[in-house]
């Protein structure tokens, strides 16, 4: 029994070590593709793909967020800001700010992730319905806002300075009525 346990432990150790080094191996070769086929299957089933690219190779210079806008039949408009992190307290960021930031600024705003847009627009409708229950929605839109941090040689942005002007673009719109 002890020997079996030791063999099992060794297999697991090798498996874990292989998952750790995968990202730096030439995976385009047949040899590695063959070796990693079963490992990849396990990894993708539990989501332990290890890349560890925090703030690398360079930190993002793009500050971005998304706002959902609903136009009602009476001509009025209301917006849902997906809890954008700007001006949010540290505690609120712990509660939900960062997860929404990740969702909007790194995923929802991207043209490559259009599959997220219809659900997000429905989500905006539901969120605003809580506030505007008596109004009939006519159109829902998703608008991305972005601004690039200027090079510190061109314009040094102070740490307590928040940008006032963001570029904006309506990237998704749907008639509801």
């Amino acid at each position: 029994m002890k020997i079996l346990k030791r063999i099992g432990a060794n297999i697991f150790i090798v498996f874990v070590l292989m998952t750790m080094i995968r990202t730096h191996l030439p995976m385009n070769t047949k040899f590695f593709q063959m070796i990693y086929k079963p490992i990849d299957a396990v990894e993708s089933s539990i989501g332990t793909n290890q890349t560890w690219l925090m703030f690398s190779p360079n930190p993002s210079r793009l500050d971005a967020y998304v706002i959902g806008e609903v136009e009602y039949e009476d001509g009025s408009k209301d917006t849902f800001d997906f809890y954008k992190g700007i001006g949010m307290s540290m505690f609120d960021k712990y509660l939900h700010g960062e997860k929404y930031r990740k969702f909007t600024s790194e995923n929802l705003r991207s043209d490559k992730k259009q599959f997220l847009w219809p659900d997000a627009s429905k989500f905006v409708l539901r969120k605003l319905k809580e506030k505007n229950n008596y109004k009939l929605p006519k159109k829902v839109s998703l608008i991305r806002y972005w601004d690039e941090i200027p090079s510190w040689d061109k314009k040094f942005v102070k740490h307590d300075e928040f940008r006032e002007q963001y570029k904006s673009f309506m990237f998704y719109s749907k008639e509801v009525l």
């Binding site: 990202t23 509660l95 659900d119 942005v157």
Partner: protein, 319 residues
Amino acid sequence: MLTFKNLLKSWNHFFFIERSTYNLAFFRVVWGALIFLNILFEVGNVEDFYGPNAVVSLEVVNNHFSHFHLSLFKLLKNTSSSAYAIYLFTLVSLFLVTIGLFTRVALWGALIGLVSLHMRNVWILSSADVLIRCVFVILVWSPCFNVLSVDSYLARRRGRPFSVVASQWTWRLLQIQVSVVYLWTFWAKIKGDAWFDGSAVYYATRLDTMKNITLPWVLDHKNIIMLSTWGTLIIECALGSLIWFKRLRTPVVIGGVLLHVGIEVVMAIPFFEWIMIALLMSFYTPTEYLLFYEKLKNKVQNLRGSKLKLTPSYFRNLF
């Protein structure tokens, strides 16, 4: 001489030498509590992230991940009750892991619950969430409940106490995991211009959506920013390599803790910094924990009789 026999001997010594399980148990308590809090903080978002009307529908998730992935959401109906049930199941499992009751089952429960929640909405996750899963995958096999747990207390009462010492391979894997995180991120960073010219910390701290506390008196000076950028690289490299040397461990860990506390103050990356600090603690052996505790106890006892003098030698002796 480097022979296969010697290599095998070193491998066995490194992974399978028997050691006290106090450090693993201590880590389990801290880790369990931290991840419990992490999940508890999501209580207001269960519907929005995991419910049938969540910001991403289950249909989109299933279409996007057509391959097999572990998820309790596949077994249950797509309702709010299911989302809350899986959330609660994860939370209870994490609580049991922390106190060490039915620990092995609870560790598996926590892993399955966490993977289910994470796979339900991967677009809200960060590196911290991946790391949490990686650590649980190792921890589920560990004897982390042999001491400092309700299970060990009950076993003692039954007259069949768990062994305090056990093979240390899971502890070693945790250490390697921590090391790898720092080494890989260091490796990826040195390919970037901003880390090289010293401006990386400037750009990272200017993201309005990620700002926490603003420190203009520190982060408005180019020289300080450059030192912080290169300091980050040096500390991350050391945390991945020099941490393995006993003599250098404590200064390297102190550097790591300062780095993570610094990031926590200026940037909003909830729980990640605390998770990394908790993982760094896994580099200390049970003997070192006990020695530190004894030293601290003696210092406190000595200080009771004399006036507190916070001299450099006082801190040196503490570690």
